[in-house]
């Protein structure tokens, strides 16, 4: 027997011709905590989904060897039966059920004939909670009365209630503050040392990985780059960043030519926003940005840095409360109290989640494209000019190359890349001067990405001010003339096209983290 609990060998997984994982290898030793890191979209979650059977055996190539035996999981149940438990980033708790009920959700403690044994449930739940450092918790209170940090621990407790040998945590600390994170990481160490649980942790917080992991595997663009081992290799944040980013740029980004950068046409000053459900929690602090005509400006930062919250709060107060600050478009101060105000003042926001916030999936391309511009450009006195609608949607379909049979095709049947183009067209049709593109290429293939970048270039050429929000730093660097680095709702720094690099962005984020730790 080898001392590896898990070996994933030569895993390749394609999505309609695009390789999300290409010959990936991951070896995890028994009784260690193994970190998995890489940029967003590098393939970490895909790899874990392959492991846990979400993508069943046969849809990928390569072997999974677990405890010395080749596994062919067809669904989550089969991998769980073997003791592999995955905890996703989004909590899977039923908020109104009690702590004890949640701990045994889907794994109910029953007497004969399927009747729930409440005494046993409560007793066992308390035992398990003690193992994750929640020994003083009342198991009878609804789970939503606890904080996010404790809820995350209850997720772990839930996993412990099952037979678990290999625990996979996908960004467990993303929603936690430093103290809560530390507690969670310490519990992982405790589980390893006292209960023999092996863990894989996916995280963007490199300092945490440095703290908790025994070894690390770095994935980039669907390839394994390297594995580092504590005590053998250099094991520092800088080393990991180098592994994550060290890549040559080929022309994945079309060159932007013949653009003259003009005057500042979009400015946001002293912008402050509070959380929509918690008036005490400040999400955006004193943000100031400005964008010139023909300029593409990036907002870089980690997930949860507050970029989307900032953009949406500017876009007609679509996020947050107690919003204060000034917005200037074309030199004039404007008040944007609703999305309609924003559209009327030539501001457009292409949301990061096209399916939830961008499209009516059951409706056709034509109606989706004209949805935001209908009132201002496709109607007279409230009556829709459906002929003009058809003409314009045909034009945009051609112009940005939406691959569909006709403009009558239902949007839900299009690929992600083409859906994204429809959303872009929808906002271009409102004839904006300023466009905020939030994760404009999330989850779409390389070819479609290139086409989207071409559209961004065209917009700049047409003298629009474009703001690109992206978690893929390469994308920010490849497309933007200037970059604001945002961290914890504040501007952590600003970088010009010549200065910007992934290391610089990460350094500014880390430096900002240190500053705010020192202050608070």
């Amino acid at each position: 027997m080898s001392d590896y609990i898990l070996e994933m060998n030569h895993i390749t997984k394609e999505f309609s011709g695009v390789k999300a994982l290409d010959d990936v290898n991951l070896k995890v030793k028994k009784g260690e905590i193994h970190g998995l890191c890489g940029e967003n979209g590098a393939g970490k979650s895909t790899l874990m989904n392959v492991l846990s059977g979400v993508y069943p055996y046969g849809t990928y190539s390569g072997d999974i060897v677990y405890n010395g035996e080749v596994c062919k999981f067809h669904d989550l149940k089969q991998s769980e039966a073997k003791g592999i438990v995955i905890i996703h980033q989004e909590l899977a708790l039923s908020p109104l059920l009690s702590v004890a009920e949640n701990v045994f959700l889907g794994n109910e403690q029953t007497t004969v004939k399927g009747v729930i044994d409440w005494t046993e449930t409560r007793k066992k739940a308390a035992e398990i909670l003690a193992r994750v450092g929640l020994e003083n918790e009342d198991v009878n209170v609804p789970v939503n009365t606890l904080g996010v940090g404790k809820q995350q621990l209850i997720e772990i407790a839930k996993a412990m209630g099952k037979k678990v040998d290999l625990l996979i945590l996908d960004e467990p600390t993303a929603a936690l503050n430093d103290e809560e994170s530390k507690k969670l990481l310490d519990i992982m160490i405790d589980l390893k040392e006292n209960h023999g649980v092996t863990s894989i942790i996916i995280s963007h917080k490199l300092n945490e990985l440095e703290y908790v992991c025994d070894s690390l595997t770095i994935i980039r663009d669907g390839h394994t780059i390297e594995s580092l081992h504590k005590g053998v290799d250099e094991f520092t944040e800088d080393r990991v960043i180098k592994g994550m980013v060290g890549r040559e740029l080929t022309n994945r980004y079309p060159a932007r030519e013949g653009v003259t950068i003009g005057d500042v046409i979009f400015e946001v000053k002293d912008w402050n926003v509070y959380h929509p459900d918690d008036a005490e929690r400040q999400m955006i602090k004193d943000v100031n940005i400005s964008v010139r005509a023909g300029e593409v400006v990036g907002l870089a930062g980690l997930m949860g840095a507050g970029r989307t919250e900032f953009a949406m709060s500017v876009f007609g107060k679509s996020y947050g409360q107690k919003i204060s600050g000034h917005v200037l478009i074309n030199g004039k101060e404007v008040t944007l109290n609703s999305v309609k105000d924003a559209i009327d003042n030539k501001l457009a926001y292409v949301s990061e989640d096209r399916k939830t916030y961008g499209l009516v999936l059951i409706d056709d391309i034509k109606h989706n494209m004209t949805m935001a511009a209908l009132r201002n450009f496709f109607s007279k006195k409230g009556v829709v000019d459906s002929n003009e609608e058809i003409v314009s949607s045909e034009e945009y379909k051609k112009r940005i190359n939406v691959k569909a049979n006709s403009i009558e095709q239902v949007v839900g049947s299009l690929s992600g890349g083409n859906q994204q183009k429809v959303v872009l067209a929808k906002w271009m049709l409102t004839q904006p001067d300023v466009l905020i593109l939030d994760e404009p290429t999330r989850g779409i293939d390389v070819g479609a990405k290139y086409e989207i970048y071409c559209v961004i270039n065209d917009l700049a050429k047409a003298g629009k001010a474009v703001i690109v929000i992206s978690s893929e730093m390469q994308e920010i660097i490849g497309t933007c003339d200037r970059v604001y680095v945002i961290n914890e709702g504040e501007i952590a720094g600003e970088l010009s096209k010549d200065e910007v690099s992934q290391e610089k962005i990460m350094q500014q984020i880390m430096a900002h983290n240190r500053r705010s730790e020192a202050n608070g």
């Binding site: 999305v339 961008g358 009516v360 409706d363």
Partner: protein, 385 residues
């Protein structure tokens, strides 16, 4: 030059229409042609007028992904207002009508306020208005029937346009039939011309001819039957106007498209500049107004106001929308579909009554038809995707 684009007419939108004709023919055979008589055709229209008015308003609610359970009670409440004003207070008929419509409108605004401003789910709000409306009706009428009304009021629900008699036949119906035929043909020519002008895809000519021929045949069939009976019913004028206006609103106006967008994806609609709360408010306010109108028509047809009036009308209206192909989750459906749905329910009721089945059996059949139609619709969609 581009190749001339030709696409087939999408048969799906006429699916229920074909079912309607089929059901009618089946009952014609079962009842030995009893349902084809001029009197019965007239009955079909008059009996179903209020359900069609309600289904029109209900479709807007269904498009948002919700229903209004309170309409039956609002119908009764508005009828009771008319009853008290005409019979007890001897007021002017027009004052009573306006009062009834206002009460309907206020009921709608009441629901709309709680749904849009307070954020209470429409199901709960309208469940409450259903109970409150019925209770208020019983209170106002003191659980008694108020009537009879003057013939001038009853004209709204039971009257006919003045006849131009030629023997036993009403020439007016013929004139309307000719006008409708001209309108259908003219509209089709205009639509073809627009498609040519913009270079849009056209339908094959034979399909257009068949489609229009079927519609023209139906228009003539119904109008000749009406002409042989008492002429053109006044409710048909009201119904025609309502259906026409709301078809226009849903298919051709920004307001209509906002309702579809809201039902299809509320968050996306909000982020596209649609004030979704406002849309909700007006959809429910409008439903209240139409319920008021249906209340007037119903009380006029009955010649009295009874506390039990409009019982379960909401269910007929909701069923009509779903039968007509509206999506349960919202965002899809047409006025045309809802009207067809309402007529299918009406023809089923009418045919089964003529055949001699009891109302108990009728309910079973209606339930089964609704379930079957929606199941079939879902299955056909699933196969596609």
């Amino acid at each position: 030059m581009d190749k001339k684009k030709v696409v087939n007419i999408d048969m799906k939108q006429y699916g229920m229409f074909i079912v309607l004709i089929a059901v009618f023919i089946i009952f014609a055979i079962m009842t030995g042609g009893k349902n084809l008589s001029p009197a019965n055709i007239n009955n079909l229209i008059m009996q179903n007028s209020y359900v069609i008015i309600l289904a029109t308003g209900m479709l807007l609610c269904v498009l948002t992904g919700n229903v209004d359970l309170g309409v039956g009670s609002v119908v009764a409440l508005c009828g009771s207002v008319v009853g008290v004003m005409l019979v007890d207070a001897h007021m002017n008929m027009w004052v009573a009508i306006i009062a009834a419509l206002l009460v309907g409108l206020l009921c709608g605004m009441f629901s709309g306020f709680f749904i849009a401003v307070m954020g209470v789910p429409p199901f709960i709000v309208t469940l409450a208005t259903m109970l409150m409306g019925r209770g208020a009706t019983y209170t106002i009428l003191k659980a008694q029937t108020k009537g009879p009304f003057d013939a001038s009021y009853n004209f709204i629900g039971a009257g006919f346009l003045p006849k131009i008699s030629v023997g036993n036949f009403d020439l007016l119906c013929l004139i309307i039939a000719i006008a409708a035929t001209v309108a259908i043909i003219f509209g089709e020519i205009k639509s073809i011309a627009t498609k040519k002008k913009y270079g849009f895809a056209e339908n094959p000519l034979y399909q257009i001819v068949i489609k229009d021929a079927v519609f023209i045949f139906l228009v003539w069939f119904v109008l000749i039957k009406l002409g042989q009976y008492s002429g053109f019913p006044f409710v048909l004028v009201i119904m025609g106007c309502i259906v026409g206006i709301y078809s226009f609103i849903t298919s051709k106006t920004v307001a209509g498209r906002q309702i579809y967008a809201l039902g299809g994806n509320r968050k996306a609609a909000q982020l596209s500049g649609i004030k979704t709360d406002r849309v909700f408010f007006w959809v429910y306010t409008n439903m209240g107004f139409l319920a008021g109108l249906a209340g007037v028509v119903l009380s006029a047809r009955n010649g009295s106001a009874t506390p039990k009036a409009g019982d379960q009308f909401e269910m007929d209206a909701i069923a009509s929308c779903y039968l007509g192909g509206a999506a349960v989750a919202g965002g899809a459906g047409t006025i045309f579909g809802a009207v067809i749905g309402a007529f299918i329910m009406g023809i089923l009721n009418n045919g089964m009554s003529l055949y001699g089945w009891s109302t108990d059996i009728q309910k079973i059949v209606k339930g089964a038809v609704l379930l079957g139609a929606v199941t079939a619709d879902l299955m056909s969609k699933r196969k596609k995707s």
